[in-house]
């Protein structure tokens, strides 16, 4: 039984190694309130996305399996392991990061902590 599990674990590891690692295409925008990141992850299910944020470093990992049906005539994509990482200024409020996956596009909003957001300063008149 234990041997079986070991074999299974090994197979999974091999499978992981076999998927080519690809950098997904990303857009990053910034406003006064925070950052907005969009990444193209076609065919990736929500459970296969792993997002980590640690000390200003955002790491994105996503995985897609692909099974060919029939005899391939043209083959331009397959299984893939998407991987990207970015550094953000310390001002990102890590607890408020929000992620959404829709139609194969991941949208991440990373708000800035309130103390670094720009404030409009009103000039007092007499």
């Amino acid at each position: 039984m234990a041997e079986n599990q070991a074999v299974q674990a090994k197979n999974q590891a091999t499978e992981l190694r076999e998927l080519p690692t690809v950098a997904c295409e990303v857009d990053i925008f910034e406003s006064g309130d925070g950052y907005l990141l969009r990444a193209d992850l076609p065919g990736v299910a929500r459970n296969d996305v792993d997002i980590q944020f640690e000390r200003g470093e955002l790491t994105l990992k996503a995985r897609r399996e692909y099974q060919v049906t029939g005899e391939p005539l043209a083959s331009e994509f397959g299984g893939v392991l998407y991987k990207r990482s970015f550094r953000f200024p310390e001002s990102v409020d890590a607890g408020q990061i929000h992620a959404e996956l829709k139609a194969g596009v991941l949208t991440l909003t990373l708000p800035k902590s309130p103390e670094v957001r720009p404030r409009k300063i009103a000039i007092q008149g007499r």
């Binding site: 969009r38 076609p42 065919g43 391939p72 043209a74 194969g104």
Partner: protein
């Protein structure tokens, strides 16, 4: 290439050989079945497969909805056109822009005739999947051998 006209009893044989060779040359220039016919600049990736009874065409189209796509089919070809609407970001500064607008048109030619009444198209998680059934005469048939 030299023509050896004297070689055989059939004087047209050499011409047929030459014609055949010329056909081979031109065939090499023409698109293969299921391969790219139009070359867009770095458009989305497509897969095409022959399942025997049907053709399956898949494409990576993140961020596109049904309304952004136009699919046209004839008995022996399929054209998929689409464009991703640019995301409007007013008041945002751009740090990185790699995703682009994704406007494309791809055509595929097929050997077997397509049954245009039997086309299934789905768009899930940014992947388009089209399954087009072949007309019955284009489907492979199993021939059983009867023992005497």
């Amino acid at each position: 290439m030299m023509l050896r006209l004297h070689s055989n009893s059939d004087p047209w044989r050499e011409f047929r050989t030459l014609q055949h060779q010329m056909d081979e040359v031109f065939r090499g220039l023409l698109p293969e079945v299921g391969r790219r016919v139009t070359y867009p600049n770095n458009g989305p990736a497509f897969n095409v497969a022959d399942t025997g009874a049907s053709y399956v065409i898949e494409a990576e189209l993140p961020g596109l909805s049904e309304g952004d796509l136009a699919i046209e089919a004839t008995v022996n070809s399929l054209t998929i056109k689409g464009a991703r609407k640019p995301d409007a970001h007013e008041g945002y500064a751009v740090h990185r822009r790699e995703r682009g607008n994704l406007a494309f048109a791809r055509s595929f030619g097929f050997e077997g005739r397509l049954d245009l009444e039997n086309v299934k198209a789905t768009l899930n998680d940014g992947v388009l999947r089209l399954e087009v059934t072949k007309q019955p005469e284009a489907q492979p048939r199993q021939i059983s051998i009867k023992s005497a």
